[in-house]
Symmetry: C2
Subunit: 141 residues, 2 copies
DNA sequence: AAAAGTTAGTTGCATTTTGCAAGCACAACC
DNA sequence: GGTTGTGCTTGCAAAATGCAACTAACTTTT
């Protein structure tokens, strides 16, 4: 169990939002959960246009909260590899439910077809892939 | 389906975070989902210390996004009643998964016992209560 | 019916967070 | 050894947030 400073109330959701309640953190988690992207540069160019200082700050916050791990990249001195911890992997159900809710609620938004199909038709397989750190979406690096 | 301006990418999660990705919005949804609190003053004193201007702003944003409705309070001229829309009610699975994740991940945080027990032992009943707008937690008003 | 209290805000201002551009140290490549 | 790629940090402007004071409309009290 990660130790975090309890600021506002003991409520689980209130404290979770202290870590993940902003416009960027869950997008980082999304990429680490469902794609093969795991480097600073990958996350930087994920499509929403996060800037380097914010990405740097969020990676550090997520690491402090025990959601992600940072390790040396194999075979490249300066690169690092960012991975979800076991706790971070367990955010999958939340992300999936939230993604489906957004699709059902807002016009013109979408989840990648591969993720959506599994979320609707074979939730167990999707969760198993995530738990095994097997990317659902393979993106060019 | 609510029309929202698509700002960063077509990703469902990215757009959902434009509406709900901050430290307060989901706390408002939490209160409306699980308690009998539905007035401005109730939400103001929910325990985390939101200020009136932020609460006012968030209620308007959630209303614009089609997550909540505002109506005249029966039998009190100045009061209003805030309620989740049908779309808003469907946030329950996301909130439940997120709450359970926070409980399992962070030391010293908790969900109200009544909600936690149902979430773990009888998820269907919990979802049915929420869908029927039946408060799981009755708080003094 | 005047006075006092509630309710749901708005306004003004100080503080904090964010966004953007530039710069920088180190590693790898050629 | 010069150039490119990577993962940052710094400086500064803009936006969001937090706090306190104020207000308009309605209710209750006297």
């Amino acid at each position: 169990m990660a130790q975090i400073p309890i600021k506002r109330s003991p409520c689980a959701i209130a404290n979770g939002l202290e870590i993940l309640g902003d416009r960027w953190s869950l997008l980082i988690v999304r990429d680490l959960l469902f794609t093969n992207r795991c480097e600073f540069g990958h996350l930087l160019h994920a499509g929403e246009g996060i800037s380097t200082n914010i990405l740097s700050d969020r990676l550090e916050r997520l690491q402090t909260a025990g959601v992600i791990d940072k390790s040396q990249h194999p075979s490249h001195g300066k690169k690092y590899r960012y991975q979800l911890t076991e706790a971070g992997l367990k955010l999958a159900p939340t992300l999936i439910e939230f993604g489906l809710w957004c699709c059902a609620t807002f016009d013109g938004v979408r989840m990648p077809a591969a993720v959506y199909d599994l979320a609707v038709n074979n939730r167990e397989k999707l969760l198993a892939m995530v738990a095994a750190r097997q990317p659902v979406i393979e993106l060019p690096l």
